[in-house]
Symmetry: C2
């Protein structure tokens, strides 16, 4: 079973990496970019028997920092 | 217009970060994890007038390293 975990910073949390990318895009001449936030995309290949609770647990214990990040689990196939 | 750019390593490219996450998950006692790959998720807030070509250009010039990474552009709203 293929799982995608989308991890992004909670609203309000400063994102220096996103800011750097924003600046760089402007420096390259791209206009109309209002905001950039950078997160992580983790693709897991897990056994079909893996429960939703186990996936949730993985995210809370390791994949996301729950203090500053949100996560979303997407089942691909 | 909100855009999500999914950047992930091309197949065959070694992913030490994914490997570290894989090991850590096993160390935490999670079973049945076969593979882990870590990529980036970049959320852009751009003007509605931004063309698909401009978005593609941003990815090729800055957001993804085309030598080792693939990208996928998703329009959210």
């Amino acid at each position: 079973m293929k799982i995608r975990v989308h991890v992004n910073l909670k609203p309000g949390v400063l994102d220096p990496q996103g800011r750097a990318v924003h600046h760089a895009l402007e420096g390259l001449g791209f206009e109309g970019v209002d905001d950039v936030r950078v997160g992580r995309l983790i693709e897991l290949d897990v056994a079909d028997s893996t429960s939703d609770e186990a996936l949730d647990d993985m995210c809370r214990k390791l994949l996301a920092n729950m203090v500053i990040e949100n996560y979303r689990i997407e089942k691909v196939a």
